[in-house]
Symmetry: D4
Subunit: 223 residues, 8 copies
């Protein structure tokens, strides 16, 4: 893909890293001279040291053939201006960081495809980490449903028990569903008679009512 | 829980927001006066306007009864100092943002329980968004395996097809596993004869080899 | 009218001056504390010392009943964000300064009613002043046509001559049209037999071809 | 013409743009190094990177053969010093931006030929735009008289009516005078029997008493 | 006298000191807040903390009844603006510091009564001090003529010699004239037969040709 | 002479100017890079861009053969350090600017030969100028005695009168002594019968009691 | 003692701490407002928030009855000015930090009683620490002689050996002298027959030639 | 030794000086460009102009073969991060400056071999200097015991007296022990019959109770 990345701050430079390593054709627009030079030195990509909102910077970046423009600056107002200018050129994929959640409707309205509110995402992970130290990762679905991934502890109620036995013994809360199990590198959909073992990594659908019970059942421990 | 949050920048203040709204007992330590005042005005929590690494700031925050100390400043060196000081006081849960991935082993070694490298996390999401615009969220598992969540499009090969039929017709790549399906608010583990419908949300285990095929099969479209 | 003026820099404060003196109901949003205080001291209007793009500033300004939002900050990206947020609230009249002419299409596209590119407007006036020192003011019409206002000099060819006589004697270039004449405080549409006198103020339609001839005819002098 | 332009800020650089494109011989004096370099790169003109008020900067700019010196800096005190120094060299045309209206008498007294108070000019246009959204441009004459330009709307009272009919029917306020009419690119002085049509551009003399009536008559709509 | 002093930097505050101690009625205009407060604390005079070139500062200082306005700021452009504004109000005595000697003609032309170029004055004294360490003070007259004041040394040729004897013995250069002599607190015009004594303070007219000889004759010593 | 000048601010650069033009061998030590370069460009002298109080800067300036070290920086503490270091090297002539009059005893005690308190000197001249606008220059002697220089006005009492006649007629205050008179370029010691003429430049010894009378007698005018 | 401490930076505030806790009468002069306030809050002493080199600060600190003035600022030029001013007042003990070793002769010459060059002292200790990790502390005497303090290791040659035996067995280098021994809290001068034991703290005179041998003998280990 | 020194501030550069002059192999890591260049110019060592806590700076400094890493920056948090990173690489000797005494336990816990709290060390010396001006240097031992070095004055009680005589005459306080005596360059352990002479340098063990008496006995003078 031909990608234009606006902003080479910490988010931006991680993104450049991934995109270049993956073999994409990347152009970076960064206003700060020192950052622009740092990117030039480290990566094999074109770097324009200019303000993306002025003087035909996007044109210099050959925006008309870009597959995506990704705006990662710290200022939502700059990000929206970049999105609007890119839209003028018919770029198919418009992606932007949005810092203030109150700005989300504006980005949506002008048709930005995908947005991230980074600080909230991080805070979410940190808070989750404090509340459920045994949960490695999670996907939030609508209405409080979550897909969580955890490792089964030796002293947990579920260790050594089949899913069917767990249901019968009320060890697992109703409505909580084990959708996948990873053991020794193999990933499988567990059956009712699958016996959960310590050190298995399980992925479980839970909701607000069952989350706590599920974590306790698999890890034996709830803060 | 009794939580001490160090740093009230953007990540920190999102975290304070969540933690206070959730009914936790929160103390914030923030060095910058303007930020400290902003937190005081907005939230019902104690705010100490001081440098967390000096002059008994943690003691003033009553660190000895804290369940967790979460360090969210922009400087890894400050975060590690906060973790070490908190550890001196025997705080059970030590959580920190770590900006430079090269610092991760140091945080691990001194025994920090949980870490986040925020810019990489965001960049990951942005890049994923550009590559797979139809994937809403994902969990990266070890060795290139991923759990992805997507919505089935009307014009996709999988729409109107059972999982068994898909396997037989080579529509779904081998080794890619549909672990969950959410339709009209219900979450279930699909069976071989479950017919996938447009607008279903499916969660699929994939790996490097099957990711592209899986996305195409469910969304009919690959950039 | 109920007007929200964003930015109290030099343009903004002149505007506040006019709008308040004219009896409008004015709310000012200005980020800089010193400027905000200066406006408060000088004018009878509500001043919000906050960033117009964040934290419900427009809501605090009661944007839903505003007749117009006028954005006068120095940064186009901020101005466009303000316009977008105001549009969300259905404000009928959206007016903004636009500094970079390349941004005009973007403002137009999102439907901003009226825009000004101030530095170009001033430069236009300065340049006109240097080229045609005798022209007091002017309106640029499409295709190089201009409406210019000048004062007739004593030693000019047109002084003491009727419009008809001027045409016959080729004193006035063809296609240049005297549309109005102001003498002793009276404004009238001149007729063919109206005799132009020294010190009359005339308003003349000219184009690129006739401008120079017209200025010379009425002022006797061309730099 | 041989022009010396002092200051290459936003006003100054728009002016340089116009003056150079028009084929004038331009010398720019700009104190800030970055701005001076930007002008050098973009335009074919001599740029002196120095303070126009010191060290013979004007002499280096060959002020003795200049047709005009135009001072566009942000500080009135600097502008007046430049005007005084230019006057020492007998420059025929002295033009300056004046930011504080209270300084106008001083500029006049030392004999500056032409002045502009930019922020007031812009504010004037913005305010006019909010009050009379249908008026495109205007010239303020003495004593509240204005020459305004507007486009006739289909649903306006004047659409399809001759000027004579309008007067008889009291559609147009007394004392308001249509001095010119532009239709399909032609500019003419309308006669009593000229019928005004939708989409005509008309130029009208008005005063405080008639302005509102005139705008309503031609556009059918008054805020 | 009623004096307005603009600027309370080091020169300004020394001046305020003298003027207030001498019983004048003094108003100070100083832009910097800290300096303005320092003057207020130390002196019994009105201090306006504002920019003398804006917003009717001079009017607030009651400029119409001032005997003199003295501008002591570091920036010549500000000083000239103050002089011009004071002149508008008909202040009888206009005095200003002028830092750049090239600006002197401009101050003269607008009719500033008295000017000082401080850095040159100091440098003059320092340089004189290095060249003629025995000369206490001096007045430069036109064409290299100087009036110098020195103390007679015991081992000098002039010590114990009458002026007539000195002339005959060629001890004093021709054209160098002893105009005054101060001994034991008495000041007198010396006669030809006055005998110069060690420790007398003499005031001597000299020119470029005689300066060195005169200093040597009275002090016996030339660097 | 071989001179080391420390500091190239405004005082310093005027001094460098004089010293170099006069043919001295000059070394300049200036800490600020921009100033050091400016001196290098303008003058034919060695410039050391370093802090005069550190790292052997004086040694690099070959202080051991210097006839004088002159310190002109803005900070008395720096000036005294320079004087002490120069004294270590036995420099014969030590000259320094002293800004705070309270520091004079310290400079005297360590044996600095000559000092100037510049702001006081300037303020003195400005204040003198306001009080006696007709006095061109002056030397302050001990105990309120002053030597003043002024030009005789046509309408003054002394114009056309001999010194003897003036004494008899009580036109000149007792104790005020005309020590020199400059007419058409000649300088002479006036005799009792010398007739003073308009436009003569006279030098007069006065004291507190006679100053005002003397100025009035020669200029006819006292503010 | 009555002590005036100039400067409340890190060195200064440690010193204030010691001096106040020890019951001295302390006055602190600190220019920076925040630091001055911090000292006031923490200690029971008078704090003057002013520049010690100006405006009679030392007089306000009642310098005439001070036993010592100790200058701890970061700038040697300021320290020397403080010392000179204190000397003017006849303060018996003048103590100062001196940062640049080249300035030591100047401080000595003006009669400062005691000086410390802090960065060199620290660097000395750090470097000593790296070279001789087993040496706890040391005093440098003239000509490379040092008094070092170390703890005897179990596996060292000297452990369990009398001083006489050590000499005979060439275990201790000639000329290295054990002057004191501290065991179980008792300090004594060891005799020839005193047996050194592991964990004894010994103080040894060494010179360049014997240092290495001595350290090895007592600690068994040399890097 | 192969040494990595982090930070080239004042402490750091003194240390570099010592280490390089002593023939060690030194690598310096300094973040500030100007400081890094200054070190490069002055010393024969490798200088890395980078942040020691990021981007493999220690790896570039070849940390794996370093004998010691010495961190001398002003910020404890940076110093601890450097220590932790160096520890990861198994560096045998870890030495750091620690500014805040409250951080000492943290440095100790992670196993830093040696630490210095510089400002306290300097303050200690300054305070000692003021209290005991005759004591040249000292080592603080545990429990208030000190080893002090002083020079015997002519008028002291101990001058001309043997140690035995001193004890008998109660001239020396009990428990104070003369451990060494340096006379004419020779260092010896004094015997009971050794006669102390003026100008001898003696090293004495004292404690809180005997310090004052000892100083008085040898110097005859106590402030």
């Amino acid at each position: 893909m031909y990608l234009i990345i606006v902003g080479a701050g910490k988010i931006g430079s991680n993104l450049i890293d991934m995109a270049v390593n993956d073999g994409n054709d990347v152009v970076v627009i960064e206003r700060d001279e020192a950052r622009a030079q740092a990117v030039s030195r480290r990566h094999d990509c074109l770097v324009l040291n200019t303000d993306a909102t002025t003087n035909g910077a996007l044109r210099d970046a050959d925006v008309d053939r870009a597959d995506a423009v990704i705006s990662t600056t710290n200022i939502d107002a700059v990000n929206i201006m970049v999105m609007l200018l890119a839209q003028e050129h018919g770029v198919p994929s418009l992606v932007s960081v949005v810092h203030d959640p109150e700005h989300l409707p504006v980005f949506e309205k002008i048709g930005v495809n995908l947005m991230e509110t980074p600080q909230r995402l991080i805070a979410d992970h940190l808070y989750h980490s404090v509340r459920y130290p045994d949960v490695h990762d999670f996907i939030e679905l609508e209405d409080g449903t979550e897909l969580i991934e955890l490792t089964v502890s030796e002293n947990a109620d579920m260790a050594g028990r089949s899913l069917n036995a767990a249901k019968e013994g009320d060890v697992l809360p109703d409505g909580c569903l084990v959708v996948a199990l990873s053991r020794d590198g193999d990933v499988r959909a567990p059956q009712g008679n699958t016996v959960i073992q310590a050190d298995d990594q399980v992925t479980v659908f839970t909701d607000d009512a069952t989350l706590r019970g599920a974590v306790t059942a698999f890890t034996g421990d709830y803060p």
